[in-house]
């Protein structure tokens, strides 16, 4: 019959229970992959790329791990996607969101097995998520008014975030770096303004934040290596051969002497341009594009430092720091804003020469120099620092703060449990399951730290039964501790995003009752 050829060759179709099973299994498998990286004692993963070079990445950042996995299971892809979004949106909690979604589905699987309809589970989960969010909202602290306290909040958040990363040994040092860098941004969330330069060598502790600005470039030959009270012109203009931009123009000559004349004119044009630039009264010129030898020589003659080929970001950041504008025409020197800084000098970090701008006018951008033993360490350090910076910059915008160490999960679980008791009908099973899934997170943190999770969670729950408890898991001492005293805090925004997107994803996967996979597109050549 024609019926068995409904879909194209190789396309597959899974229905009902089988479809649900396959998405549960896929989602849980993904959650299990990243589960062991959760918490301060979480482990790292080595990722080896399949491409040429087989480059190796060592990380415990959930989003990075999941991004590099090649997954066929569509449900797993949903989880990877929420982790990516979490990364883009708040920067941290990328592992938690996947683990929570995985746990929610694990609980849902049990409920489906006892014949509770997915739609009932979904409506229960929705009620529970709403209730959990309200519980968190009730408990948030906001110290925006008090600058001193706010800064210490930021510090605590940075430490908490970094404690689960490779930087945990020097977390105090790096938290200070991150907080200072973010405070400099003055409320903007543009992390591009914070430049991270990685230089192998030295130890992680040697990393530092430079209040000035460092450009990873060299100064042209024969030009001064040190300028005080520099006036900087930042430009984006062609300094190689300034082409005629009128379309169709070409040089057509009939003799060699004409060629020479035109060449002379071209040179003259460049000289004029350089003269115009010099007329701005500058002693440093930074261009985004190449500077050829001829103009460079002219600059050297005028005693001007010319820096070529600074990339787009570099130029933008430099403009931010020095307060100059990015110029492309040079006819009106009086109205172009120049950048200023006290000192430009060439410095050496490790074996590389860099240009250092210090004493800048506006401190809206800054540079963090990371030092470390190997590229892998540096890469991971950058990722960790990026996470911390993201969380901090988001916290500056939304300054609500929660305690950490499994405290928010327990608070939510308690409220959700209460809701389950009040709710009649089958939904209450789903609500209970939601609370179990929430408790799974502190359990995993404890498990990863090699502690007796069952014992600890039971203690924690008892502790939380009292009003206004601050109890959470203290991984270092391996016991239940007061999170406020220990100074473990998390940003509200991160927790809220984890809760909502995990529930949304779980809901989405639960609603599916059929999976149709199209035949994979044929590729002409395979690697």
């Amino acid at each position: 019959m024609a019926i068995d050829k409904l879909l194209k060759d190789e396309a597959t179709e899974e229905k009902g229970e089988r479809a649900r099973m396959s998405s549960f299994v896929g989602a849980m498998a993904i959650a299990d992959v990243v589960k062991t990286t959760l918490g301060p004692k979480g482990m790292d993963k080595i990722l080896q790329s399949a491409g040429r070079g087989q480059s190796v990445t060592v990380t415990n950042d959930g989003a990075t791990i999941l991004k590099s996995l090649h997954i066929d299971n569509p449900a797993a892809k949903v989880l990877i996607d929420i982790s990516k979004v979490q990364d883009d949106e708040v920067g941290d909690g990328t592992t938690s969101v996947v683990v929570l979604a995985g746990e929610l589905l694990r609980e849902a699987e049990k409920l489906v097995a006892v014949k509770i309809h997915p739609m009932t589970i979904i409506s229960g989960y929705r009620m529970a998520a709403e209730c959990a969010r309200d519980a968190l909202l009730k408990k948030v602290m906001d110290n925006k008014e008090d600058a001193e306290k706010f800064k210490s909040d930021l510090m605590k958040i940075a430490m908490t975030t970094l404690s689960s990363k490779i930087l945990s040994q020097d977390k105090e040092h790096f938290s200070k770096l991150a907080v200072e860098a973010v405070m400099r941004l003055k409320g903007s969330t543009n992390l591009e303004a914070i430049q991270i330069i990685k230089k192998a060598g030295g130890s992680l502790r040697d990393s530092f934040l430079d209040e000035g600005f460092i450009l990873d470039k060299k100064i042209g030959i024969g030009q001064p290596k040190r300028i005080e009270n520099a006036n900087i012109l930042i430009a984006n203009t062609a300094m190689d051969t300034d082409k005629v931009k009128i379309y169709g123009a070409r040089v057509r000559v009939d003799s060699m002497s004409r060629v020479a004349e035109i060449e002379g004119a071209e040179k003259e044009k460049m000289r004029e341009k350089v003269q115009k630039i010099i007329a701005h009264g500058i002693n440093c010129f930074v261009n985004r594009q190449l500077i050829y030898n001829f103009p460079e020589e002219l600059f050297a003659d005028a005693g001007i430092v010319a820096i070529e080929h600074a990339d787009f970001d570099g130029i933008e950041r430099l403009a931010l720091v020095t307060g100059g504008e990015i110029a492309s025409t040079f006819d009106n020197p009086e109205s172009v804003k120049l950048g200023h800084c006290k000192l430009i000098e060439e410095i050496m970090i490790g074996e590389d020469k860099l240009i250092h701008f210090s004493g800048v006018e506006m401190g809206q951008a800054c540079t963090i120099i990371l030092r470390g033993a190997s590229f892998h360490v540096l890469d991971e350090a950058e990722r960790s620092l990026h996470d911390a910076l993201c969380v901090l910059s988001q916290t500056v915008v939304d300054s609500r703060v929660l305690l950490g160490g499994g405290w928010p999960e327990m608070v939510m679980a308690k409220e959700v449990d209460e809701l389950a008791r009040k709710t009649p009908g089958k939904k209450s099973h789903a609500i209970e399951a939601f609370s179990r899934a929430l408790q799974a997170i502190p359990t995993i943190i404890a498990d990863n730290a090699g502690l007796d999770s069952a014992e600890l969670i039971a203690q924690l729950r008892a502790e939380h039964h009292k009003e206004g408890s601050n109890a959470g898991i203290d991984v270092i001492s391996g016991a239940v501790g007061d999170m406020e005293k220990l100074g473990i805090s998390e940003a509200f925004k991160v927790k809220q995003a984890v809760l909502l997107s995990a529930t949304e994803a779980a809901e989405m996967i639960l609603r599916v009752d059929e999976i149709i996979t199209c035949a994979p597109r044929r590729r002409e050549d395979r690697m």
Binding site: T189, T237, E504
Partner: protein
Amino acid sequence: MALAFDDYGRPFIIIREQEQKTRLRGLDAQKANISAGKAIARILRTSLGPKGMDKMLSSPDGDVTITNDGATILEQMDVDNQIAKLMVELSRSQDYEIGDGTTGVVVMAGALLEQAEKLLERGIHPIRIAEGFETASRIAVDHLERISHKFEFGSTNIEPLVQTCMTTLSSKIVNRCKRSLAEIAVKAVVAVADLERKDVNLDLIKVDGKVGGKLEDTELIHGIVVDKDMSHPQMPKRIENAKIAILTCPFEPPKPKTKHKVDIDTVEKFQTLRQQEQKYFDDMVQKCKDVGATLVICQWGFDDEANHLLMHRNLPAVRWVGGVELELIAIATGGRIVPRFQELTPEKLGKAGLVREKSFGTTKDRMLYIEQCANSRAVTIFIRGGNKMMIEETKRSIHDALCVARNLIRNNSIVYGGGSAEISCSIAVEAAADRYPGVEQYAIRAFADSLDSIPMALAENSGLQPIETLSAVKSQQIKENNPCCGIDCNDVGTNDMREQDVFETLIGKQQQILLATQVVKMILKIDDVISPSEF
């Protein structure tokens, strides 16, 4: 395979390479076709109604789509069977025409095919069945007209519209905040609607989404959102009372279309050319400045020099704005799209109360909001959600809701949902059947049976006893002579859809029945399937 032989026993060659083709004819062909159609309908059946489930589709490139929109499922399903393709087309045409009810139409067609199969087995000729169906569909459509209600709404009283959109949205994953989404959709449609002519141009509503945030953050913006940022990083990020020059010419030297060459052979020429070029840039920027523009939106790119000149003259600019967006901006701000700098005049500038740049999340995503426009006839619905699939599905749901609202403005008749309209039609068709002499009577009765299949599927998906519920509702309709009784999917406790506020549009329902009947007629008429065999 049947072959014809001539007097000498050699086979006639009628079709090229006929040995290699599989051929089905007669009743076999019809049965094969029907079973293919039914298979498609079976896939969609579980997605029907507020408790319908979603389908997860994985595209050839591995992208995942999760949806319960019939048209989207079928479009992405990559079907190979000819009849299945017809069903895909069916759902698509419902989508184009009405925008909603794409699942229902396929389920309906599937039910009709199922009934037709039974009649074929009894030996009734397919054409007679088709004619019977045709007659029955006319009865049903007329009946729908009779039980429909007109309802009144104005630009101030949008509640009835919101209710109808909520019915549409309640079957989607976004039903968590269907109220706010329905309001957004209705407000958007009312904003762009021409109530005089009863026409709505949905092109004026831009639906855009960005991952992150939560569904509740979805908002309606009376203006345009463009996924672009200022061309120069140091341009102002906020402009009040902007006068916008909308250009489709690049800030670059002209490129005449005719082939030409500019030959440089002397130094003087080289220099004049250079001055020309500088003057050209200067002129362009000056012209924009002269007409009083405070923001330039351009379809093309800028030369570095032009960019700096713009910055220098304090004229913020946006580059590489797409053609569609450019048109929307022009409509919203009341400006004219200007193809040449020479044609720039102060009257052609668009006006907007506020233009601002907004950044999202931790990445460098920025979007440009153009708000408080002179003419608020173009609006944007900006969707936020936890992940990519969610955004896509929300976009589709909003599209459905927009279509429904548009249909209501065009024609404000509604019928009640929850399967009540189908049940009522089924009763009417059943009663009418007896008046027809001849074989068609059977087909008409079969049509009535297949109308029942939609409420049946609804009940099934909601976890109710399908046969029991359906018969109870049916008898209630006849007893109380009330065409508003339907399936109580959400377990509210009442069967009366009027109390539950579940509406659907009349034209949507009529279209469903007509389209489904047409396709079934077409499938029934096929009696020979010739397809190249596998090799």
